[in-house]
Amino acid sequence: MPLDQIIRLALLVIFSVNAALVTALVTLKTVHRRRMRLHEKRRQGYLAVLSRHLSYEHCTDPITEDMAEDPAFLDALIDMRNAITGDEVATLRRIVNRHGVIERQVRHLDSSLLLGRRLRAAVAIAEIGDETAADALMRHLDDREPEIRIQCARGLGRIQWTPAIDQIVSRFSGEDPWVRARFSDTLVGYGTKATWPLLAYVRINHRFESKGPALALRTIGQIQDDQAVGPMLEILDDAADLDVQLATIEALGELASPEALPALVDLLDDEVWQLRAKAASAMGGIGDPEAIPRMFGSLRDENWWVRRSAAAALARLPGGVDALYAALEDEDRYAADAAAEALTDAGELVSARRRIDAGVSDNEPLLAHMERGVVA
């Protein structure tokens, strides 16, 4: 076959394949858009049905088996569940139970081969929040799919299923980091009920690993349970791993208990700079002005991050801003610069400029310091 014919044939084939691909893509997109429009239309209809069920005591609008299987119905159910609270949630759950919605979703979660369907089922069960699904949610904390594990933990947290707390905490060690982080969010939702299981987990595991216990400690800090302060001080004393120590200090700062102050003050002299810096930050969180003299000393620390942390913490203490202004005159330029930076972050530079512009003041030490220039 002559070369030009071969080339023409090849071009024809390439053009035909491209045309077929483009046609297929356009068709898929059109079909998808149509499906989405129909889904949305059905969802709006279901919202109206659910609204009537919630508004009329003897509403007779049917909820059929087909509806209960429809993803649009699930979406409407979830939206409605998130819009209401109190007695109406119980009403919605009665509707859900009467029509076997949860049971269907549990079946999909247990046995569907399609990941999308299983995930949708997990999300629906988690969002609707019904105790009848608790066993299924517990089973699937070990699901092979990370997102399903996350949704199941969320669902258990939503119904405040306390037997799940130990199960979720115990999975900190073996989990992917981002799944663990989502588990932590769920545990924060449990509030103080999760404190002791988390503390127990840390006590058992902190000598063998760091990531799980560190996250558990941070979770306790977010829960804000004062009862955890004493045990956490013991852990701080006992722990050898730096990540665990840092997480404990961070959590103590979140808990903001003056009981932790003596231990944190001691840490300002630790040989490890990360501990000194974290302790200074935590003391800023506690907010006790008695810490000011000691923190002032940390402005002269040899490590810049410690200086910076101490200065930032001082800015948070009552009377700390005055101490920072005094530090601007410190013969140690690094201490003065750390103070200047913290004052600037606290908005003092803007305030100083405003005072000068308004003629209220003609001498602002912070401005003078900035004009002198910071040490590189």
Partner: protein, 120 residues
Amino acid sequence: MSEKKKILVADDSETIRALLQTALESAGYEVDMAKDGVSAYELGSNGDYDLVILDQLMPGLLGLDVITRWHQEGMDVPVLMLTGVDDDRTAVESFDRGAVDYVRKPFRITELMARIRMRL
């Protein structure tokens, strides 16, 4: 025969609009809907509403800004604000700008209806 009381519901959430429309109509109120701040402002300015249920976070114009504009134009429209569960600032500011009440989302329909009945 007494006239039906007229309520404007302004919320960008379709779910909230569907729910409130059904609940309010079942209670015998005449209901208009707005799905953003601009149409809420326009409908409220032109309509004669006995009550406006106004969400804070809407596209176009925030709920508080809608109230402010109505007040600047001398309109005395009773407004019940819908605010987020942690949004204390909006709750307080809504009173400063002239709202008569607020309800946090997610809400109890029975509570909301009771507050509406109290106003109308």
